[in-house]
Point group: C2
Amino acid sequence: MTRELYVGLSALVEPGNRELGQIVRRVGPYVAADALCSERVSEQLVGAATTRLGEPLRLPAVEAFGARLLDDADRLGVRIVCPDDEEWPSQLAHLVRISRGYTGQVADRDTDPPLALWVRGPHRLDHALARSVAIVGARAATGYGNYVAGDLAHGLAESGWTVVSGGALGIDGAAHRAALATGGVTVAVLACGINRPYPVSHTGMFERIGEEGLVISEWPPDAPPYKLRFLIRNRVIAASSAGTVLVEAAHRSGARQTLGRARLLGRPALVVPGPVTSAMSAGCHEELRIEGARAVASVAHVIEEVGRIGTDLAPLPSTPERPHDRLDPTSRQVLEGVPIRKPLPAEEIAAAAGVSGRDARRSLPMLVALGHVEAIDQGYRLARPA
Amino acid sequence: MTRELYVGLSALVEPGNRELGQIVRRVGPYVAADALCSERVSEQLVGAATTRLGEPLRLPAVEAFGARLLDDADRLGVRIVCPDDEEWPSQLAHLVRISRGYTGQVADRDTDPPLALWVRGPHRLDHALARSVAIVGARAATGYGNYVAGDLAHGLAESGWTVVSGGALGIDGAAHRAALATGGVTVAVLACGINRPYPVSHTGMFERIGEEGLVISEWPPDAPPYKLRFLIRNRVIAASSAGTVLVEAAHRSGARQTLGRARLLGRPALVVPGPVTSAMSAGCHEELRIEGARAVASVAHVIEEVGRIGTDLAPLPSTPERPHDRLDPTSRQVLEGVPIRKPLPAEEIAAAAGVSGRDARRSLPMLVALGHVEAIDQGYRLARPA
């Protein structure tokens, strides 16, 4: 049942949603689904989920929705991998760091880890990604860029590294193809349903990747590749791999965002220089001027950089997480003001915690949903440990 | 007379010599020349100076040597600029920082500031260099490199920056020529006598630079451009300018050393990326991978980087230098062991200072020459302040 709920929840809101991700991680998919169905979450979340479910939010309906998606996967000959599954790539959990600003920088949009991944291909997902490098770049790549992307992918594949990319025209395609041609493993991370590869002209390439590598997606079948989804998807490319290499990028290029995600994650953000006379390298050179970017001019450079942090792909340290570690600063502060025994109204908690009444009224229902706080007679007190 | 001595001393040893430079800075050219002639300096220094003077070292001979060189300058229609002259570029004094490891890194060879510069051209040297950028790179430059060097020099000249370079084939020449063509000021720093520009094929270019910009050299007329001299000269290119831009460089390239000098000096070490497929950019990309290098892809980038440290070209802070600030660590330690009143033999000073007898015997004569210590009856004590 957990499985159905994970899959159901994953498809009820756009991937990366922080509110839902936070609740699922805190209380598991069952209680999370219950919180959603009893509307103990934000209105937006309820609205989005109701629209997608197509009927009133009820636990059995969410479960049935997940079950139908699992059937769809079977019919399509693909599988769905969830966070509790053995082959789940644990490094995706690092996304919570940037989702919550653990690294001092908060991403510009929700970047929570996926709740489920649709997967086609013969390899275990965690194994394929254990030693992987992302190669990304411009769709309108030049001959130079395509050559370098292919050369790097070839060398990485030859050294046993998996090449991760986004399946797009240009740099992405050159990297996937070179990895395939070398007999290596390559992983295409889609921004749409796994049954409708985009771009269409790469259909043959995706088929081959599905046979020899892995095609993965966070979206249910038939999900169209909206522009925004590429930006949501990029976090998975960066978080899957030990480092991201940007090969060619114009000044404005989505691939720069993938590199930025790698940087936020503390993974090597590697940049291939090019002629300064080439507009297709202008974005690369801007990236090179950002603190922490590293120029790479060869496969050896890339391996030197990603090899260093091999251990960083190990699972997150398993020291028990304190319940409020994952709260945002305001909620954490509000929690400090919640009495242990005698319930108090929000206003008094606000005064005790030193926050505005508005902040308290906003945070307390979430703290209740998360199980930190109990609501009793118009007041709140700390929940007893289970 | 000071002038003759500066010029004489400058030509008695190879430029950059740390021992001579240190003495001259400490006690001025007169006492330094006296220390040299009375052989209170190292044997190597005495040997080198005697060979170049062509007669036994005596103060009047050194002075006459300098006077002859000043006459040579007049005859050649050039001038000699010394550290006491108004137009001396004070930023050259920063070279003592790397000469003595003030920045934590000691250069791989003597890098003392010049004692004199031969100058041809219509501008005041200090004014011409006050806002200057060095552009250096491969002699065997590609069309790409020549284009970029010219483009940067053009843009810098247009913005009122002086373009400093080494007058060599390839990148250097492209930079000088573009600055000239833009009507800007360019400074060619030679590694040989000012009357024998090298390479010969650049004779016309040097003539024009001598008319519209400045040609400068640390060497007396007719000095041939030995290979080593380019490496000695490079420190002047780096120290003259607010920052150094490396345009193209093969893996092994002298221009990389110029960039290294800029880095040691704490000046912007700027690197133009190029195709990773080009051997002529391989050295650039290696440099880009060194901590502190900055990629520049446009004139705007260069100006952004060098503009920041405009103030760094101001004269060295004029807080009085304590006498032993300029000593090497061992001599400084030896000095700690020298008694104030009752002279002690070298061995006892060594014991008091916690250094080997050999170190003490080596350092004490230099400390005497520098005026820190008096030698009395086989022993040593601190010299009285003058």
